[in-house]
Amino acid sequence: MAVALILLLVAIGSVLFHIYSPWWWTPIATNWAYIDHTINITFWITGFVFVAVIAFMAYCVFRFHHKEGRRADYNPENKRLEWWLSVGTGVGVAAMLAPGLVVWHQFVTVPADATEVEVMGQQWQWSFRLPGKDGRLGTSDVRNIAPDNPMGLNRDDAHAQDDVVIENGDLHLQVGKPVKVLLRSVDVLHDFYVPEFRAKMDMVPGMVTYFWITPIRTGTFDVLCAELCGAAHYQMRAKVIVDEEREYHAWLEQQKTFAELSPARAVVKATYQSGGK
């Protein structure tokens, strides 16, 4: 029966495509292999159900398609069968949900030794900030944004002075060190997305969001914006470079702090205090 065969081929073809197609996730670069495992579990369970349902359907079409003299059964319901199918489905769902929730717990529980970095999105570029010597990021506010203070850092906050500010550059991370990525936007929604990291999170003006990762291998990775943010959304790019400790520190040495980048600071502050702003 041609129809039954085609239906079956759709199922088999899908499985073969899954196995042999060259398109698969990127080699992972962080600790979130757990997420990949959860996806794999989900593929197994859903793949099984998919093939089973379609094979059953194809069989029915093959076996029970209309022929002269065939008459259908009269079979309104079967409580036991329906009950068993529901329970079976419940078990399958639980088998996906349980690992998912466990991994989600890890995902939202930032380890105490994670260092912070900040990523700021704006139409249509990325800026980055590292805490500097004091290990703390200073406060910020969109109202502070000025040509010499593009990230809107708070000039009165001592913690901000030594923050490392990276405008139009790439972000470097150190391999093996957990890092909490703080996300902030000054205009519209953006989303800091590095496919190899598996993690992503929207950046919302007026809020600070975050995720955490531990990079597990060195390399250079593309940063994309994954939340529609206007005309040049597709061009909002940067790179993250995961370094060994030595290279990382060598790179860090060359970066400028907020205080160094804003020499006009004293003047601006003076006008501000005299009510000039």
């Binding site: 979130w32 159900v49 359907m57 029970f64 079979n75 949900l97 519209v188 929604l189 496919p195 206007g230």
Partner: protein
């Protein structure tokens, strides 16, 4: 099965309807244009929805041209691409599918299937259509206003939607919100009608548990829509106020094009909650009528009662109720309070259980059936495959942590097209082949129908199945161009080109269908009143197409559920719902 009365209840007198209750058209205008007859309104809704739906289809070709062959078509720029996806998505979801299922199928089938003469409030029903038409025209007008339609994405997220970095910020977004507001007003008028008609105007003997599943699906979807659309309504009004009057419901202090804007204090996430409180139920507003209709297609063409009718009804109601507490699964990576993830992942995956039951019962209905592989049945089979596929990938996206890498990639695009694009469209097409004979009195051409099915089903599958793997790879959605990346291999671009070619083919093949619709209207084989030998009331009307008032002098009386196919001992393999029981023809206790 409880509800099959084998004991004689012969001789219930039919309900009498005094003539004054009916509205009568007095001129050509009130018969065909400003008509209050639900059947005419249904056709008006369907034609309008199809017309605007074709616009959305053409937009999808333009998008596919750009994605498949980036840089080749200089007449598509980045702004336009965003405008295309926005208009395409919004039209498909709201102005095509919602309007077609509820306004089109709902209007046509509800009164006929429950044995009523018309909707309960015919005048409001008529207004509903005209307000809908106005909404469509306002929406379509955005193609011609300065700046063009909005390019904010169909989700219309602020702050972006109303700021100058997004195309259509002047007129497009304002007209879009206005059109949505109109749509909701129009829908509410129609929706109240459908609900009241189902509850109040069922004919004698038509208990709730004897309703065909089509009515259950449309009824539940309408109730949901009445509860969900208000969230979109207020969100639209608030966004309009933000845009026009400078309020800040959704707008925190922010920088617009380098300048500190006048806004401050609002919450972008509030909009997302309102939007998805509507938006998730909306998925089921489209899906439930499809579930209902496909159940009836399968049962009729497999000559077998739907398996587990009561379970099917409860599953529809359960899905409807649960779908109001899962909305934030669209917001796992929105920056909302992360602990919400546990709750919404759990509720979302629980919905899989009643949904799976429905799938099992469809395929179990085929078991030991007498399956006639006519075009409506083929589309029903196509629906099951695409719906199962899309439903299963929903388990990825619903499982909060799995959603993190996949959200906002082509995986999501593939998933929702499969589950709420292709699957419901399969049902719409199957339903058209199924009910066209009732609406016009003529059959659609079978050969063209089969060709249409295979191209559409296989083509749509080829478009959207491989797309999941692009998303898995990390290809983001709503991208005009992928540009240079280190992780997207060149084979992915070939796949994109392939998908585009198939999409164009599938798109153009719809011409065959449109031709079939037009040609069969005049040349199609005469169908008679009940060509599929179906049990439900709409097939038992005295005239085909049904006349004004649907039934002759007397309303039908219902004696049985909607699925008495192949009843053992009965002479025919179907017993219409309004056929009185004649004990001689039936073997006692046949229902096991």
């Amino acid at each position: 099965m409880v509800d099959i009365p084998y004991e004689g209840i012969e001789g219930i007198p039919p309900a009498e309807v005094p003539d004054v209750e009916l509205y009568h058209p007095r001129s050509w205008w009130t018969r065909y244009v400003f008509s209050q007859d639900a059947k005419v309104i249904a056709v008006q809704y369907s034609l309008t929805a199809t017309a605007i739906g074709l616009v959305a289809l053409v937009l999808s070709w333009l998008m596919r041209l750009q994605l498949g062959f980036p840089g080749t078509f200089s007449f598509i720029d980045a702004n336009q691409y965003l405008q295309f996806i926005t208009m395409h998505g919004m039209i498909m979801v709201i102005y095509l599918l919602t309007a077609l299922f509820l306004g089109g199928f709902g209007n046509y089938l509800i009164p006929l299937m429950v044995g009523a003469r018309d909707m309960v409030f015919p005048y409001v029903n008529m207004l509903s259509y005209w307000v809908y038409l106005l909404a469509v025209l306002v929406l379509a007008s955005t193609f011609f206003v300065p700046g063009g339609p909005t390019g904010a994405g169909w989700t219309l997220y602020p702050p972006q939607a109303i700021l100058s970095g997004t195309p259509g910020q002047d007129w497009g977004i304002v007209l879009m919100m206005s059109s949505l507001i109109l749509f909701i007003i129009g829908f509410t008028m129609g929706g109240l009608n459908y609900v009241v008609t189902v509850l109040q105007a069922r004919t004698r003997g038509m208990t709730l548990m004897r309703l065909p599943l089509t009515v259950w699906g449309i009824f539940t979807a309408t109730v949901m829509a009445l509860l969900a659309f208000p969230a979109l309504f207020v969100a639209s009004v608030m966004l309009l106020l933000d845009r026009l009057l400078g309020t800040s419901f959704f707008m925190p202090s922010l920088v617009e094009m380098g300048q500190l804007s006048k806004y401050g204090g609002g919450s972008p996430l509030l909009f997302q909650h309102l939007f998805w409180f509507f938006g998730h139920p909306e998925v089921y507003i489209v899906a439930l009528p499809a579930f209902g209709i496909v159940s009836d297609l399968i049962s009729t063409h497999a000559r077998k009662n739907i398996f587990g009718y009561r379970m099917m009804v409860w599953a529809i109601v359960a899905i409807g109720a649960l779908s109001f507490i899962v909305w934030a699964h669209h917001m796992y990576v929105s920056g909302m309070f992360p602990q919400f993830g546990y709750f919404f992942a759990t509720t979302t995956l629980i919905i899989a259980i009643p949904t799976a039951i429905k799938v099992y019962n469809w395929v179990l209905t085929l078991w030991r059936g007498d399956i006639h592989l006519r075009v409506p049945m083929l589309f029903a089979l196509g629906f099951i495959i695409t719906f199962v596929n899309g439903g299963l990938t929903g388990l990825f996206l619903g499982n909060v942590v799995v959603d993190v890498p996949l959200s906002d990639t082509m995986f999501v695009v593939a998933h929702f097209h499969m589950v709420m694009g292709v699957a419901p469209i399969m049902v719409v097409l199957g339903a058209i082949y199924h009910w066209y004979p009732k609406v016009t009195g003529r059959m659609l051409n079978d050969t063209l129908g089969k060709f249409h099915f295979w191209v559409t089903f296989l083509g749509a599958y080829l478009i959207f199945f491989p797309m999941h793997y692009l998303g898995l790879l990390g290809v983001p959605r709503r991208y005009f161009e992928l540009g240079d990346t280190s992780f997207i291999p060149s084979s992915a671009y070939s796949l994109n080109a392939f998908i585009s070619v198939v999409a164009l083919t599938v798109g153009f093949s719809q011409i065959v269908f449109l031709f079939n619709l037009a040609w069969s209207l005049f040349k199609g084989e005469a169908s008679g009143g009940n060509p599929w030998r179906a049990t439900t009331l709409e097939w038992q009307t005295p005239e085909t197409p049904p006349g004004h008032g649907n039934w002759g002098k007397e309303l039908p009386v219902v004696y049985r559920w909607a699925y008495d196919y192949s009843v053992p001992g009965a002479a025919e393999d179907f017993i219409p719902q309004n056929q009185p029981p004649r004990a001689t023809q039936l073997v006692q206790g046949a229902a096991s």
